[in-house]
């Protein structure tokens, strides 16, 4: 018993001495600011900044090769803190969240085929152009949900929905969506057009009950073209998020029912 205790203690002592020496002679000198900046970042390692994880971004920030404010997840507060550490000015950022610009649920938007294959939007889209009648709409096979580092996206009734509280605006979903219908919008914006189909009204109506027909009514009701709350791409209204409409009255007046007030879904947890 005593021998065993002595042995273990001895081994521990020797190992401790070796480690102590190694720490003294083999330690890597590192800019202490890297650690401080890493600590200031949210630590989500989402990659939204374009660097491999928060540590990668911190190194680039300290090295001066990355602009401050690229971290969408951290937002202004984070940028300000980093600015304090590095002694540089913070670029003002606004928290952005992902918005899925489609509201064509299974019951509203028609399907033109029975897709059978891998559950992934990109391959589904490559199979006969997807099984949704509207070739611009959300396929609902969850490619965005799969890449989301925060599990902020879930599929409901064949449609991707973003939980605004969980979304950190990293933009991974924007890049993966084959229909390019996810956009990062200011978290403060409340009025959205949930459609991505620029076709003429009749052809939109053929495939979806809630598609934008480009009737310009939202524009008219929000003070006309001069007010500049909306822009149009083909027959598709887009909210001008630099100058968003404030009057929630226009939502109810949208004949296509693709305009909503706060599009974000809140998951139960």
């Amino acid at each position: 018993m005593t021998i065993a205790i002595v042995c273990i203690a001895g081994v521990g002592l020797v190992a401790a001495i070796v480690l102590a020496i190694a720490d003294k002679y083999l330690s890597v000198k590192e800019d202490p600011r890297i650690g401080m900046v890493t600590a200031a970042l949210p630590g989500a390692n989402c990659g939204g900044c374009g660097f491999p994880g928060c540590d990668g971004y911190a190194r680039a920030l300290v090295a001066g090769t990355a602009p401050n404010g690229a971290c969408a997840a951290g937002g202004d507060a984070c940028a300000a803190e980093i600015a304090k550490i590095l002694g540089v000015e913070a670029a003002a950022t606004e928290k952005r969240v992902a918005l899925v610009k489609c509201c064509g649920t299974r019951s509203e938007a028609i399907r033109v085929g029975d897709y059978n294959g891998i559950c992934d939007c990109n391959v589904a889209a490559a199979t006969a152009g997807g099984d949704k009648g509207c070739t611009y709409g959300c396929l609902g096979y969850g490619a965005c949900a799969n890449v989301c580092p925060k599990n902020a996206i879930s599929i409901h009734d064949g449609l991707a929905k973003v939980d605004k509280r969980l979304c950190i605006g990293c933009g991974k979903c924007v890049a993966i969506c084959p229909k390019r219908l996810i956009e990062l919008v200011p978290a403060s914006a409340t009025i959205h057009v949930l459609c991505n189909n620029p076709d003429k009204g009749p052809s939109v109506r053929k495939v979806c009950g809630v598609g934008c027909m480009g009737c310009h009514l939202c524009e008219k009701n929000s003070g006309g073209k001069e007010a500049g709350h909306f822009t149009f791409q083909g027959f598709l209204a887009k909210v001008n998020y630099a100058n968003p409409p404030a009057d929630a009255q226009i939502v109810a007046k949208c004949p296509a029912k693709c305009m909503v007030e706060d599009a974000h879904f809140e998951s139960g947890n």
Partner: protein
Amino acid sequence: MKTVKSQFKFKGGVHPDYNKELAREQPIERLLVPAELVISMSQHLGAPAKCLVKPGDFVRRGQVVGEKNGFISVCVRASADGKVKAVEKRLGPAGGKADAIILDTTEKPEGEAPAVADGPVLPPLDWKTASREELLKRVEEAGICGMGGAGFPTNVKLNPPPGKRCEYLILNGAECEPYLTADYRLMLERAPRIRLGVEIMRKILGGPAVRIAIEANKPEAIKAMEAAFADIDGNVEIVVLPVLYPQGSEKHQIFATVGRVVPEPPALPIDVGCVVENVGTVAAIADAVELGEPLLDRVTTVSGGAVATPKNILAPCGTKYSDLIAFCGGEKEPVAKLISGGTMMGFAVSTAEIATTKTTSGLLLLPRSKVSQYSSQPCINCGRCVRACPMNLNAAEIAKAVESNDIKAAEDAHVMTCIECGACSFSCPAYRPITQFCRRAKNSIRARIAAEKAKAAAAANK
């Protein structure tokens, strides 16, 4: 000229039900120009052609309506007289959208009536006196691309880059896809045309040896080709291939006929001195040169258990599938799957409103009983896909890697070598969409490479 048996057998391959008897005995029938044609600007591999007409324009049969747009591209010609109803994005068979001309053929161009409605579009050429450049130019003008399926511009293929010489011209008459009999009928009915095409191509390519590859299950076609090529001079052989899918794959055909192995991508057949052309393409070249007739029509097999009368139809490119189906007497039973091409590599489509292109070799109407569904069962590691893979890939590993989003592992397992022949999915007892997994990996790798290139180019511009 002699007929020989193939000396080389590639590893792997599968034996699907051929079902060729459905349309094999049906002579090629011509379809009259339908009331509406949908002429896509993207009928070939490479950059889509640039549309030259606008709604309201009248066009003549053979008129160039889409301009060649880049090196890997071919022009598009109107397959019939008519009035342009609209120019809009239309879904193609492969699932992509491309500009297409909607042609109303009931409204004929005004003004002077054409002397011969179906007369020569281009001046006929005497291939014996014409120069190589003239012949190449004619192939390009005629808008010819590979008619076997991929649609690679033929003039590019027939013009090897400097330093590379074509030693073997291989004629692909394997037609290993189930159901399809378009090439078979062509070999039976138009063998002399094919021979003329071969002679023209030989001249363009500087006199290579010719190998005509035909699967052993087409004895009639072999006989017809033997008769047509009997008195041809030079090194010409008909190579009888064993019946095995994918015998019609370019790489496997090169191996089966001349025993050469094309290295991994980006190597091309010309790197081992071979050019492979589909028999349909060869006949189109003969027409373009001798008759001055561009590639405006092609033979399409309409078959499958659900069509009333299976047929081999010579139809203008741009004919809607619904018109082809109507020509075959409609549906005999409900169609569960509509396939553009063959069952192994064809594309399932969602509507019969899609139109044929220069590469549409078949249109299959499968009843429910002939359709197998993929499932999400796990891999049981049985190794059937590994044994079936003609490229000798570990398809099971690739599929598992892609399933867990590990594209890098798939790349390390040589997924880019995959020819998407479908032998793995065909043989998988768990009904896993293995080929689709490979496709997914290839798409993401291609996208990543393109993004890297764009990034490098942007950096270089700075």
